[in-house]
């Protein structure tokens, strides 16, 4: 049996019919067609699937899509403003915080969530917040530097 739901993703509304066991990640990737969010471990270890749900980070591989009915979902595709990259995305590029790119969507979402709740994170704050996101290219140094730069730039505005 499928169940109807409306998923609001990056400002667009999608009427979908889903099996109750469908994860939010599968609904967004396979039904809606936004493939930026990645499936890494599929059990909440790696954070590659991280999205924002009503502004808060969620490991979407382990969240039932039907529970997101009517809520606001933000994926990595929703961070840029048209062709204009978000400051965090630009900073990741400038710092070499992207290598294979598989962890990047989750890292960007996780860092976005961090900066919303803690606009002035220490290096330790950044490392702890991103500890739920695994990078296997050992790119952490560049990633942490990128997040700290964006925080600093915001403070100096």
């Amino acid at each position: 049996m499928t169940v109807p739901a409306v998923l609001h993703v990056n400002g667009a509304s999608h009427e979908v019919e889903l099996d109750p066991h469908t994860s939010l990640l599968d609904a967004v990737r396979d039904v809606i067609g936004l493939t930026g969010s990645k499936e890494g471990c599929d059990d909440s270890e790696c954070g590659a699937c991280m999205m924002l749900l009503d502004g808060k980070p969620v490991n979407s591989c382990s969240y039932l899509a039907l529970q997101a009915d009517g809520r606001e979902v933000t994926t990595v595709e929703g961070l840029a403003d048209g062709d204009e990259l978000a400051p965090l995305q630009r900073a990741f590029l400038e710092h070499g915080g992207v290598q294979c790119g598989f962890c990047t969507p989750g890292m960007l979402i996780s860092a976005t969530a961090l900066l919303r709740t803690n606009p002035d994170p220490s290096e330790d704050d950044v490392r702890i917040a991103l500890s739920g996101n695994l990078c296997r290219c050992t790119g952490y140094g560049g990633i942490v530097g990128a997040v700290r730069d964006v925080a600093q730039a915001r403070r100096s505005v």
């Binding site: 109750p20 954070g47 808060k56 382990s62 969240y63 039907l66």
Partner: protein, 301 residues
């Protein structure tokens, strides 16, 4: 059986669904993750309880706290009253999963998942918390030591919904801490954990509760460790005796996260750190939340 999904707007909606065989999901951070890991398949009939009004509040009343079942770990970490008076619970919620887990994972789900490694269990047990279970036939209150009957199992019937937890207020002069041994700072499960809740006055330790986590089939208090502290001056010797007693009270298993032998050896270390941090807080010293990070390497000793 065909799969079904409903979203409950009220407790009554949820109880009706439970009565007809559905299983509840709130944040999904245990239920769905467990299914992904092959622990148990997702239930065919699911009732989402995360939108029920009125179950997400932290209420202070004369005799303590009422935590709604839908209070998230993030809510607990942000709560001024919990940080000040139920500090061990803040220590625990601050290190559950990652910020994604804490934003959606609930205290009710944590308690009903009944993992012997759950971080919030030791603090709740030591503070004397009780679960409030509601069903179509009424409400009953079950102390947590009676609720948890084994790894992953509880005394609750399938038609009962946990609606909240009552946590009695500790007396003035009480300090508390929860410390766990961890390999990773986030998305970690306790290898070994320990909670201490201690009350002191000018003469020494007047009350002590010590619980061990991931060291027995359920999280449990260790009376021998508590007895080593009560009536003492809270100095190095009684702390060491209590930590040894906590380790002696453990019966750990060997699994992918650690061997039984390693867990037994670490139980004494981690229990000692929790007791030291709780005593320091009882005396008014500041130990940052979470105590696990603040006490790494035994720095507070």
């Amino acid at each position: 059986m065909t799969r079904s999904f409903t979203s409950a707007a009220t407790i009554e909606d949820a109880l009706t669904a439970l009565g007809s065989g559905a299983r509840p999901v709130a944040g999904g951070t245990d239920l769905v993750v467990g299914a992904r890991q092959g622990k148990a398949p997702l239930p065919d009939a699911i009732v989402a309880i995360d939108r029920i009004e009125g179950l997400a509040a932290i209420d202070e009343h004369g005799v303590g706290l009422r935590l709604g079942a839908l209070v998230t770990h993030e809510d607990i970490v942000m709560s001024a009253v919990i940080r000040a008076r139920f500090t061990a619970l803040a220590d625990a919620s601050a290190i559950v999963g990652s910020h994604a887990t804490r934003a959606h994972g609930t205290i009710g789900g944590n308690v009903m998942n009944a993992s012997p490694a759950m971080d919030t269990g030791g603090p709740l047990l030591c503070f004397g918390a009780s679960a409030i279970l509601r069903s179509g036939s009424g409400e009953r209150t079950v102390p947590l030591e009676e609720l948890w009957t084994g790894p992953g199992s509880t005394d609750a019937r399938p038609d009962e919904l946990l609606v909240g937890l009552d946590v009695p207020a500790p007396t003035d002069g009480t300090g508390s801490a929860y410390v766990r041994l961890e390999y990773r700072r986030q998305m970690e499960i306790a290898i070994v954990g320990a909670t201490a809740v201690v009350s002191v006055d000018a003469g020494g330790v007047t009350d002590a509760r010590v619980a061990i986590t991931a060291l027995a089939p359920t999280i449990r208090r260790v009376p021998e460790a508590e007895a080593a502290l009560v009536g003492s001056d809270g100095g190095d010797e009684p702390i060491a005796a209590a930590a040894r007693a906590a380790a002696a009270g453990s019966s750990p298993i060997t699994d992918v996260r650690g061997s039984a032998e390693y867990r037994s050896a670490m139980a004494e270390v981690i229990a000692g750190r929790a007791i030291v941090a709780a005593l320091a807080r009882a005396r008014g010293e500041q130990i940052a939340i979470p105590a696990s990070a603040a006490t790494r390497g035994g720095a507070t000793r």
